[in-house]
């Protein structure tokens, strides 16, 4: 089996995600065009600026291509801005900002504050304690009934899953810990390939 995980590389922390995936011994491909998307089995959407990425998704033709793949069940993992792109409802976004509506959550952009409020802290997850890095992070303000909350910061959800879609409001790619990427690749992606 030759699994290829794509990392959306329009803008943002795609290099750090690609390193994390590669550290698991899995092939990685940076995705900037619909043609490149055809060559991947799963997709990671990194942090960055969701408004910038939303525009580049439309101009590159990737928006519709990714929406079709997600609808067909492509495993997708979004962090921070990537989570905003996957959400069904975006609060405090730009009016022209698009999202895939792939996971039934409402997220508020930059709800944890500006950069001086950015922080790192421990999060409870099923894999044990995970170090969460939150950068101008979005907040999950509502989760639909089909959404499973996997990780919490205090009482609030910060890591959620619905079917083949995984979303985190923090940055596992910056913590030097690939357990979450491993969960995505082994549990969500490999299971589907078999």
């Amino acid at each position: 089996m030759n699994l290829v995980v794509g990392v959306l590389a329009l803008q943002g922390a795609f290099a750090a995600h690609a390193e994390c995936v590669a550290s698991l011994g899995v092939s990685v491909l940076e995705v900037r065009t619909p043609e490149q998307l055809e060559d991947v089995d799963a997709l990671v959407m990194p942090g960055g600026e969701s408004s910038t990425m939303s525009q580049l998704l439309l101009s590159s033709g990737l928006f519709d291509a990714i929406a079709q793949r997600i609808a067909k069940g492509m495993p997708t993992f979004g962090t921070c801005a990537g989570m905003i792109l996957l959400a069904s409802e975006v609060l405090d976004g730009r009016p022209d900002q698009r999202s895939f509506g792939a996971i039934d959550i409402s997220v508020r952009r930059n709800a944890f504050g500006r950069q001086i409020d950015s922080f790192e802290t421990a999060i409870d997850t099923p894999f044990g304690e995970f170090h969460g890095v939150f950068i101008r992070a979005p907040r999950i303000e509502r989760t639909g009934s089909a959404v499973e909350v996997i990780g919490r910061l205090g009482d609030e959800p910060v890591l959620v899953r619905q079917g083949n879609v995984l979303a985190a409001s923090f940055h596992p790619e910056l913590a030097g810990d690939a357990r979450l990427h491993e969960y995505f690749v082994t549990t969500m992606t490999t299971a589907r390939k078999v």
Partner: protein, 299 residues
């Protein structure tokens, strides 16, 4: 800095993390809320709020300082993307003020008139991250040793001429490539030659890369300039005078955003370079005398 609930703000990881988020993007100089909106509409990943773009600072002469807080707050209120602002080299009080205003990144910049001709700011003392300019690897590593979380080429701001930024990127990435091939004994000599901390030189040798993101700034005026900077190893670009000193800023800004993302795709570059109107006029390097060369400021 740790709070009572065990979470930490202002750590190197959190500060460098924002630099990671800006990769592959375009940071645009803006002088008012209206320009900031144009920049955000065009897909900028951040804006740099300043009173005059470098081309005007160059033209006007005199002392260039931190911008008026009122103007910075106006820009913060106008956009949802990160807002950066500049302080004079060594002027840590201007930096304290920008931190109090809640800007997302501070540029300790040679474009403004230096406040200290010996010392740069101790950037570890701040919660907000800093970016600093560099012309070569030694200068870049000295800035990291003072706490900078992002390095940008200095280029020669306000000229619309990419030649100096190319020189600086080639200096930095060329020496990084050499260091990754050096043996242990040679690393001691590299540290001496570069006047940089040995530990950081050894880190480059071990990891094969610079400790923080390296962006390109200084002289980008066209989509092709942005793609050139990216292909030379820049991880994102700053565009100062190049957008709002051109004939038609909005389409040029959008084209530079596309070119920065699709920097290896010549077909995209050809498409977005079409019909943009005149870029800023630009200045050749031999038209600038020594005291007007911003890149020579900083130590």
């Amino acid at each position: 800095m740790t709070s009572t609930n065990g979470s930490s703000v202002g750590t190197q990881r959190v500060k460098r993390g924002l630099a990671e988020m800006l990769k592959g993007g375009v940071i645009m100089d803006v002088v008012n809320a209206e320009q900031a909106k144009i920049a955000e509409d065009a897909g900028a990943c951040a804006v740099m709020a300043l009173e005059r773009v470098p081309a005007d600072i160059r033209r006007d002469g005199g002392v260039a300082r931190m911008s008026d807080p009122e103007m910075i707050e106006g820009i913060k209120a106008a956009v949802t993307i990160p807002v950066m602002a500049k302080v004079r080299i060594g002027h840590f009080v201007e930096a304290q003020i920008l931190e109090a205003l809640g800007v997302d990144f501070i540029d300790e910049s040679e474009v403004l008139t230096p406040a200290d001709e010996t010392h740069h700011i101790d950037k570890f003392g701040f919660t907000v991250p800093f970016v600093c300019g560099a012309t070569n690897l030694g200068e870049a590593l000295r800035r990291v040793s003072e706490g900078a979380c992002m390095i940008r080429s200095k280029g020669e701001a306000g000229t619309g001429n990419i030649v100096e930024a190319v020189r600086h990127l080639r200096n930095i990435f060329g020496d990084i490539r050499k260091i990754t091939q050096a043996d242990n004994a040679e690393l001691f000599q590299w540290a001496k030659t570069l006047q940089a901390p040995l530990g950081l030189v050894q880190e480059i040798a071990e990891t094969g890369k610079f400790p923080v993101p390296i962006f390109c700034a200084g002289g980008i005026a066209t989509p092709a300039d942005a793609a050139l900077a990216m292909q030379l190893g820049g991880e994102a670009v700053f565009v100062g005078s190049g957008i709002f000193k051109s004939d038609d800023p909005a389409p040029r800004a959008k084209a530079i955003v596309e070119a920065t993302t699709h920097f290896r795709d010549a077909n995209v570059l050809a498409r977005v370079s079409r019909g943009l109107g005149a870029p800023m006029t630009g200045i050749a390097m031999d038209e600038i005398n020594g005291t007007q060369r911003f890149a020579e400021r900083g130590w």
